[in-house]
């Protein structure tokens, strides 16, 4: 739909003082009024302060600032509301959820800009320039790689659409040419074509987590006991003295996030407060933040002092590892202090000295391999899904392909089952242009002799 209310977080996710949420479309003022009190649509373009509540539960979410832009004088050209909430990991998400509960739909990627284009607020060249600008923020090599990947992706998506159309052509033949020489299509043929199409969609979809990381940066959280050398490692990976380093355990009390390019791949590095039972209130909050970052992490670096490695079973580490779902790289820090000639460390562990730089390059390679292993294995040639929009379309296509097979197995007849194929193709249409029924017929005519 072109004008239904949509909502999205306009600022990047993560810790920040404020977050900006945008709401656009038909009836968004009434929708916002269900979540904001007091609500003032008039005077237009004037900021007001309001309580943001979940419309169903009434639960207070945040103290927010809001501002109404009646169409056409808005970014999208439609009625638009901008709401500023506190930033961070939780509040903006809860605020968006409340607005969704109020009747808005989560916007597709770029949908605000698309509406702006549709409503003549911005021409397409401007919109494209905006996108280019965002890309240009990344290092040159990465941008070039991305462009190549994009082209590769279009080609792969087209091939993929072709596979689904081939499958649909078999069904179309069954339905549209019932009295032909070749007789009915063998079930194996349908099954085989289905397997090919499904495998392709699934394979492409499997690159999505890493592909999206490629755009946003892999969230790599450095964790460990207090004074394990996390901040030193953080600084060493960044190449700058960003975090304060002392010998006093518990120096880092808040999480610090910084972008970094490691082995050519984008990361968002996070230094966290050391994990321990602390009575210090500030430190406890810091530890809580660490835990939340750990929950969102793509990758965790767990630091241990190399010199204390003698303790083979560390209960803190074991408990920690049991709770983390992301891959963990264990790092033995401060190896420059380790003068013993004890047994060499296990291969899964990287030994690093932030002081001498020993082991740092190996760690960087390990991090890249953990966060982008699939991409590394695919090389530069294979296409990768880098956008949430692409992933969403592929997920829909996959669900429809599975729906098709489920319908066939349940004895649903060809015409009804084929609606799933149409939907799967439609899901890809947004990405690669419009398919016409003629294409299906072309495939039928190419492969079957028809003509009663």
């Amino acid at each position: 739909m072109l004008t239904d209310p949509i909502v999205a977080l306009a600022t990047p996710p993560g810790r920040s003082a404020v977050a900006l949420i945008r709401l656009s479309g038909r009836g968004v003022f009434a929708l916002a009024a269900r979540c904001l009190a007091p609500f003032r649509a008039e005077p237009a373009r004037t900021v007001f302060r309001a309580r943001l509540r979940h419309p169903a539960s009434g639960e207070a979410i945040d103290d927010a600032l809001a501002c109404c832009f009646p169409g056409p004088h808005s970014y999208t050209g439609e009625d638009l509301v901008e709401i500023s909430t506190h930033g961070g990991l939780v509040v903006p998400g809860a605020a968006v959820a409340a607005l969704v509960a109020g009747g808005a739909r989560p916007a597709e990627a770029g949908e605000f800009t698309r509406r702006a284009v549709l409503n003549g607020k911005m021409d397409l060249l401007q919109a494209e320039a905006t996108a280019d600008l965002i890309d240009a923020g990344a290092p040159v090599q990465r941008r070039r790689a991305l462009q190549q990947l994009e082209r590769g992706l279009s080609g792969r998506l087209e091939a993929l659409r072709g596979e689904i159309l081939d499958l649909e052509a078999l069904i179309a033949y069954e339905i549209d040419f019932p009295e032909e020489d070749a007789g009915p299509v063998a079930p194996d043929l349908v099954r085989g074509a289905w397997c090919v199409a499904r495998e392709r969609v699934a394979g492409l979809l499997a690159t999505a987590p890493e592909g999206e990381r490629l755009r946003e940066g892999a969230l790599c959280v450095i964790a460990g006991r207090p004074n394990a050398g996390k901040s030193s490692l953080f600084n060493a990976l960044l190449g700058t003295e960003r975090a304060i380093v002392t010998e006093i355990p518990g120096t880092t009390r808040d999480a610090i996030e910084a972008p970094a390019v490691i082995a050519g791949f984008p990361f968002r590095l996070v230094d966290t407060a050391g994990l321990r039972d602390s009575q210090d209130r500030v430190e406890k909050i810091g530890i809580e933040v660490s835990r939340r970052y750990l929950g969102a992490a793509d990758l965790v670096v767990f630091c241990e002092e190399g010199v204390v490695r003698g303790a083979s079973s560390d209960p803190v580490r074991e408990e920690f590892l049991a709770h983390v779902r992301a891959p963990v790289v264990v790092v033995h820090t401060k190896v420059d202090l380790d003068q013993s000639d004890g047994p060499t460390v296990r291969p899964a562990v990287v030994s690093v000295s932030a002081v001498t730089g020993a082991g740092l390059e190996e760690l960087k390679r390990r991090l890249a391999a953990e966060a982008f292993g699939r991409l590394l294995a695919l090389g530069d040639v294979e296409p990768v899904v880098t956008r949430a929009r692409h992933r969403a379309a592929l997920e829909r296509a996959l669900a429809e392909l599975d729906g098709f097979q489920a319908a066939r197995s349940a004895g649903v007849d060809a015409a009804a089952a084929a609606t799933h194929l149409r939907a799967a193709v439609t899901a890809l249409d947004d990405l690669i242009g419009v398919v016409t029924p003629d294409e299906v017929l072309d495939r039928v005519f190419a492969s079957f002799c028809v003509g009663k």
Binding site: M1, G120, D123, I175, R422, P437, D438, C449
Partner: protein
């Protein structure tokens, strides 16, 4: 003063339906044709209906057209195609007696007081500037009218080919072509192009060895195309199946250079889905054999139509390969097959109501728009007939949506995408295969037929009664509870059982469970026809699928609601790609949805089109 409101030139399947619509709308109507005895003649195979086409027949019938009723009066064998593929794509097809069909059409047309028939070969169009004013016949008679519909079929510069040597100017076998008319239309500045189509030989049934061919019986006489009347069917007969195998292939390969098609005599493009036997053998050399259907031409003749062996080879070669077909070793050929080339006018020159963009109130319908098939012609005849009258009354044109009817798919495809081979309908051409069914044609189109006042009071009552019955069945299925002991005997074939009492509508969703038998088992009296039950059953069984397609249709409607004014200066829209500007300028789509279907229009062109349209509106306002 005008002699008539509407003149229709041509008495084929487009012309007769256009005449029926015009007359039903009470416009004074003249149908002029070169031979009154061939009104409603089936020039090619003696059958009506089939995949998607059968649905069109029912759509035409729902609107008050003649095709369904005439078919019911001429059916000598009926089969529901696609029975195994689910009722959504069931396709009624009737083998017809050519003579009975023609007579039925003539009889049905003569019931309209507003319609006159006359014989004459139209040679000129009368114009006043860029408005049509009537026609003039070769014998010098002039007929003035406020709107003219041309339905000339394959007659315009028609040329028959038999091998590379023999070429006969003809509209079809036995009829004169229309040369002057073709010139008159070309003089209007319309682009002309050529297509070809073909027809197979016909044989004397008394010379067939019946022991070598397979008998194919019909389904019986339960089904009727018409929603409005239930005539007794004529006597039912069988069709026959045989095969063209290696010997036939060998003969054709040997003589391929003598074929008009492969010898280079024909330049026009033919349909891929109705290929000549030469085409089949050249393009699919691995196919071991090709089916051949022997179809009776009528009840009072022994002549058979040899479906599947359309050809443009010389007559002696046709006879030679016929004799290589099992069962036809001693067959005598009554008529030779031939290919015919003819003028058509690329239909992107038409509006979505089939009026030419060049000349006001001049309409084109049928094969001259690049289609094939009686049903496709009839559907266009309906659109042209209705809109000719609406235009002269100054009313908004009626445009059929792609989700309303196959007629809508057909006309939209023609005027938006154009044609590069003779156009035929398939279910695959529609985005809404599940919605556009033969069983619900009346439900889809009755509101329109009533709004336009196309139906008589009695017809309206009949239609409403039928739809009411469908509602009653649906209601009964939704309200009635069935117990396991009642349901299980009915469910035997489905491999499922009922655990606890359940609504009939829920149980009927199971594949293989019949609604009629379930209702009966639950003790509900069902005094309704099979077609009423089937229509209700489909709505229940495909509930979820239908909802999905309706959702998709609603999305399309949103794009369709964005109207594009006819006089948009597309060529000035610099933000559009050059190709897009030229195509849109030629097609002049009526809505954003139609623009989106124009081949070569990219999503960014569409975005810019919206902006440019808005700017243009501000400028002219």
């Amino acid at each position: 003063m005008f002699d008539y409101d509407v003149i229709i030139v041509g008495g084929g399947h487009a012309g007769t339906e256009a005449a029926a619509m015009s007359a039903r709308l009470k416009a004074s109507t003249l149908l002029i044709t070169s031979n009154l005895d061939t009104i409603g003649h089936m020039s090619c195979n003696p059958a009506i209906g089939g995949i998607a086409k059968g649905t069109v027949v029912r759509e035409v019938d729902a609107l008050g057209g003649a095709m369904g009723r005439a078919t019911d009066r001429a059916t000598i064998q009926f089969r529901m195609l696609n029975r195994s593929k689910g009722p959504a794509v069931w396709a009624p097809r009737a083998q017809c007696d050519r003579t009975l069909y023609r007579r039925a059409i003539r009889t049905l047309l003569e019931q309209f007081p507003a319609l006159q028939l006359t014989q004459g070969m139209v040679s000129r169009l009368l114009l006043d500037g860029d408005q049509v004013r009537g026609v003039e016949s070769a014998d010098g008679r002039r007929f003035s009218a406020r709107a003219v519909i041309i339905t000339a079929g394959t007659f315009l510069r028609g040329r028959i080919h038999l091998g590379t040597e023999t070429q006969i100017p003809a509209g079809r076998a036995g009829d004169q072509p229309s040369i002057e008319m073709a010139q008159a239309i070309e003089d209007l500045g319309l682009i002309v192009s050529r297509f070809k189509t073909g027809t197979p030989p016909r044989i004397d049934g008394r010379t067939v060895d019946w022991s070598k061919v397979e008998r194919q019986d019909g389904d019986g006489d339960g089904y009727r195309f018409s929603f409005y009347e239930r005539m007794a069917l004529p006597r039912q007969v069988a069709c026959w199946i045989t095969w063209a195998g290696e010997p036939v292939k060998e003969i054709i390969r040997r003589h391929l250079k003598e074929s008009a098609l492969y010898g280079g005599a024909i330049s026009g493009r033919g349909p891929r889905y109705c290929p000549s036997v030469e085409d089949k053998i050249v393009k699919f050399p691995d196919a071991k054999r090709h089916q051949v259907f022997l179809e009776p031409e009528g009840l009072d003749t022994q002549e058979l139509y040899v479906n599947g062996l359309s050809t443009s080879l010389p007559v002696p070669v046709q006879l030679e390969f016929l004799h290589a077909v099992p069962g036809l070793e001693r067959a005598r050929m009554t008529r030779a097959g031939y290919a015919i080339e003819y003028d058509y006018y690329p239909p992107s020159q038409l509006t979505p109501w089939l009026e030419t963009k060049a000349v006001e109130r001049l309409f084109f319908a049928g094969q001259i728009n690049g289609t094939t098939g009686y049903e496709e012609a009839a559907g266009q005849g309906v659109v042209a007939g209705i809109n000719a009258v609406r235009r002269l009354k100054g009313e908004e044109p009626v445009v059929f949506g792609r989700d309303d009817a196959y007629i809508g798919v057909l006309v939209d495809d023609l005027v938006t995408r154009g044609v590069d081979e003779p156009y035929r309908l398939f279910t695959s051409r529609s985005e809404f295969r599940m919605l556009l069914r033969q069983d619900n044609a009346l439900r889809r189109l009755l509101p329109l037929a009533e709004r336009l006042a196309l139906l008589s009071d009695e017809e309206r009552r009949t239609a409403e009664r039928r739809l009411g019955e469908e509602e009653q069945v649906l209601e009964a299925a939704r309200q009635t509870t069935i117990t396991p002991s009642q349901a299980d005997p009915v469910l035997v074939g489905t491999g499922t059982r009922l655990g606890q009492p359940e609504r009939v509508a829920v149980v009927a969703k199971r594949p293989g469970a019949g609604l009629g038998r379930l209702l009966q088992a639950a003790g509900v009296a069902c005094p309704y026809g099979d077609d009423v039950l089937a229509a209700a059953e489909i709505e229940i069984k495909y509930d979820g699928y239908l909802a999905r397609e309706r959702e998709a249709a609603a999305r399309l409607a949103e794009l369709a609601a964005f109207a594009l004014p006819f006089d948009l200066p597309y060529l000035e829209f610099r933000s559009l790609a050059t190709e897009a500007r030229q195509k849109l300028d030629r097609i002049r789509p009526a809505s954003l949805a139609q623009a989106a279907r124009v081949p070569g229009i990219s999503p960014s062109d569409l975005h810019n089109l919206v902006i440019e349209t808005a700017r243009w509106r501000r400028r002219v306002a």
